[in-house]
Symmetry: C2
Amino acid sequence: MNYSRQRELILETIRNNVVHPTAEYIHSVLEKTHGSMSIATLYRNLNQLVDNGIIKRIDGLETSSHFDHNTHEHFHFMCEKCKKVYDVSSDVAPDILARAEKELGAEIHGFDIVFRGICNDCK
Amino acid sequence: MNYSRQRELILETIRNNVVHPTAEYIHSVLEKTHGSMSIATLYRNLNQLVDNGIIKRIDGLETSSHFDHNTHEHFHFMCEKCKKVYDVSSDVAPDILARAEKELGAEIHGFDIVFRGICNDCK
DNA sequence: CTATAAAATGATAATTGTTATCAATTATGA
DNA sequence: TCATAATTGATAACAATTATCATTTTATAG
């Protein structure tokens, strides 16, 4: 990666924000402080920063929503190769809801855990 | 909710699929077995089924990706009211990666936990 | 049974978040 | 300083999803 002023600004904006900003939010912050940046440049640099492990993208199952008829507590694993989604029993993280509520002091309504990797079949 | 044949078909498709289908996938399955259904009807019914707790939507932080400069293991909480994203320490789920790998027999490259609810400030 | 009101449908336009294209500009290092 | 690779901005394209609205279905009170 060569140096670029724009990338520096983007990284700085992410580092200076306690919240975990969206591309949209970063764009609006930069607009106010340093004038407008091309939206393409922004997305391009975010992807590069993620690819180089400098920042992390937080998200679940890629672009589109997946649906599950099993509404009981359990988690998911998506194979990066075949894109299949497997169930993971809630035993892998016992008491997780209570622990998180205690730490945050928040009222938790729900949560999802999504693991990503290579499934048994694809290995 | 009144009865509707279309909704019945959608629910049946989700229940008969081991994978956790996307809207796109459900649409293509129904196309083959029962002829085409309007894409609007499909999305409308999926939302209704989720709202009534009959199925669950699996996803992370809503529509757009959020970015995080902290690349160490930790989780997230999003307040449904103010939309702020808070960090949650990885202590709430110790050994979760090893446990999940053991259960699945898979090679896990990463995972996200996203809690949703009302934060301390908004309560 | 009807009549009627509420709910649901399908076609399609619109929206949103993101990526691709491509010509012009900038960074790097021999 | 010149050549090459990387980066930019403007804009078109795309994919997933939602909104609009006229038509059709469903539920139900009389």
